[in-house]
Symmetry: C2
Subunit: 383 residues, 2 copies
């Protein structure tokens, strides 16, 4: 066994996306203590930068020290108490994972199934909200990574509010690629990942919780089933005994209490990635994703590909195309792309395995060079 020197790949799958050198270099800076005042100040900056990304003033906005699935679990286990009812919209793999989270937390899941590749249907959601007035939470995936479909989060959140139901929103693939307006939509709990449109290595899960979610957590009569993800404990580390202040001044660091050891270097990378997003600006980032998506779409259509998702519901950052009938061994094509062209695209997941490819244009991967490389490599391999 020898030190690992990976052959670099162009990452155009469903994440991780290409990580800019600037972020990798930030990650390699010297490790300092997780209670060092300079690290506490970094945490405060990360919170502010995440509020920018999530378009929120929520004080409780921070990265969970584990990948997106743990961010999902953080939302569910903190908001659910045994016996609760949760309406879950399932239009892909990640909605199904939400159901798993609900039932394992001792709640009843009322599932609204939708065809994979279609967005969540607001009418079905309203009917279900009316039929289940006992529901505490409405949960849905904003950007389904398994299909490339965008659901209308604004409308779905408004329906939940009309029926006095909390919302949990999966923004793993949407954050940084399309608008995620936590305050405007009045989302209660939302989670994301670092390895998609933020172009930061995988490992952390940004989350944000609004006032109604915090009130629900404070009103709990049962303990949160996970110690590691218990927000009442995590908050003492990230906020310092629930202090709502966040100016990062050194005096307040005394109030921080140890919960777990934060992934220090991963936080360096997230900080740098968020700085880059702010430098570019959210609107510029969204429009870059859209422009590159259009170039890729035009090229893919010329190659004879058709999209799984209707134009008005497509995620620019995740292009799911049907594999042409002429392709007899789709895994062999992906293998050739990876090994010959050093290009990673994504396979289909779940019910779509073998039927579609998922081509990501996430974060730094949404650039003309990647679009050209992908179209050229596909043209060559599909002959």
């Amino acid at each position: 066994m020898k030190p690992f020197h990976p052959t670099p790949k162009t990452l155009m799958g469903p994440g991780p996306s290409d990580v800019p050198t600037r972020i990798l270099e930030a990650m390699a800076r010297p490790t300092v203590g997780h209670l060092d005042p300079q690290f506490i100040a970094l945490m405060d900056e990360i919170k502010l930068l995440l509020r920018y990304a999530f378009q929120t003033d929520n004080a409780l906005t921070f990265p969970v020290s584990a990948p997106g699935s743990a961010g999902m679990e953080t939302c569910f286990v903190n908001l659910i108490e045994p016996g609760d009812t949760v309406i879950v919209c399932v239009n892909g793999v990640f909605g199904g994972r939400m159901v798993e989270n609900v039932t394992r937390a001792g709640a009843t899941a009322v599932v609204i199934n939708e065809e994979w590749g279609k967005p969540v249907d607001p009418q079905k959601v309203e009917e279900t909200l009316i039929a289940h007035p006992e529901a505490k939470i409405l949960a849905f995936v904003h950007a389904e990574t398994s299909t490339g479909v965008l659901s209308d989060a604004k409308t779905l959140c408004a329906l939940a509010q009309k029926h006095f139901t909390l919302t949990i929103v999966d923004a793993v693939t949407s954050l940084g690629g399309v608008p995620v307006k936590v305050d405007e939509w009045d989302v209660d709990a939302i989670y994301s990942g670092t390895q998609k449109c933020l172009s930061v290595p995988p490992g952390l899960s940004p989350v944000s919780f609004g006032p109604r979610a915090i009130a629900a957590i404070e009103a709990r009569v049962t303990p949160v089933q996970s110690w590691f993800l218990d927000l009442s404990l995590v908050m003492n580390y990230w906020e310092g005994a629930r202090s709502s202040s966040d100016s990062g001044s050194a005096q307040k660091t005394g109030a921080r209490s140890y919960h777990h050891t934060a992934p220090v270097n991963a936080m360096y990378a997230l900080h740098e990635g968020l700085l880059m997003l702010r430098e570019e600006g959210l609107d510029a980032a969204f429009s870059r994703h859209q422009t590159q998506h259009e170039h890729l779409r035009d090229g893919l259509e010329k190659l004879g590909f058709s999209f799984l998702v209707e134009p008005e519901h497509r995620l620019p950052q995740l292009n799911t195309v049907r594999i042409p009938a002429s392709v007899k061994d789709e895994a062999a094509v992906r293998k050739a792309l990876l090994e010959k062209h050093h290009l990673e695209i994504g396979a289909g997941l779940g019910a779509l395995a073998g039927k579609v490819w998922r081509i990501g244009l996430m974060g730094a991967s949404a650039c003309p060079q990647n679009v050209d490389k992908c179209l050229g490599a596909l043209a060559e391999e599909l002959g």
Copy 2:
């Protein structure tokens, strides 16, 4: 806000420890996909290297994608079913955290309390095992990070086996610093962290599970309460549909199924740190920790410090000393060490807050330069 360039510190607290440049550089290599065959091969090497570190042939040996607290939770939530009884030895903060894990998983904790700074008492453990034949698990901390005490894991595991009880062992601070013999002691479930004696940045938790633990997991009648930490799912990613083979050949990667996105770059760092441990050799690493501990101890005693823990139970990698009565403001001394000398030492935790300092000699931090620097800085600050 600007890019973060931390002032480097010498890390002699309870972790993180100093991270060698070689490991930081490995972490900054280009991110590849978590299902890329070259990454799958890296995962296989990490499993082999972790078996070396844990001195085990357990196939189910891998790093959980989150810090040590999540490794702890992985052990408890997979082995416990609601209604079980778990005997927990508490001689510091981390034993207390185990109790939290037990009760949140719906089990009854039978607690054996021990004075902080003392090892777990085997006689009390045997009495409790006899009094509670219904106990499914005995859980204890091998190396208590809050006190610097080493408990006799071999004896405690033998007692558990005599009474047909599974063991969960916290080896967060012991792995790589003192012998951790999973197979010889016949440990059932064990977890550690990367940021202690492995000198890898925090963020991952190496775990290992033996055959009785796997049988208990397979015999479960209730689902694991955490989706993220459910070993039956995680294993499909790390082992490929529970294949016990681990030679890393490319053919088998087809069997791997996606569970969550692994923290790719953190795995690079762990791989490099484990390579360094294997290059040095376990025995050489243990003896280096012991030698540096003796130098530090001699110097600290000359400065008038006394140790919390009796010599025969002291962890070489974590030196807990009583703060001299002459020190009126212990936090100010630590602050001066950090800001003037760029040296981090640890405060007391829990009941020992304000009463002790914890001086770490973990991994790369266990070197003569660090010992000298620490003694010199303390001599200056204590006048």
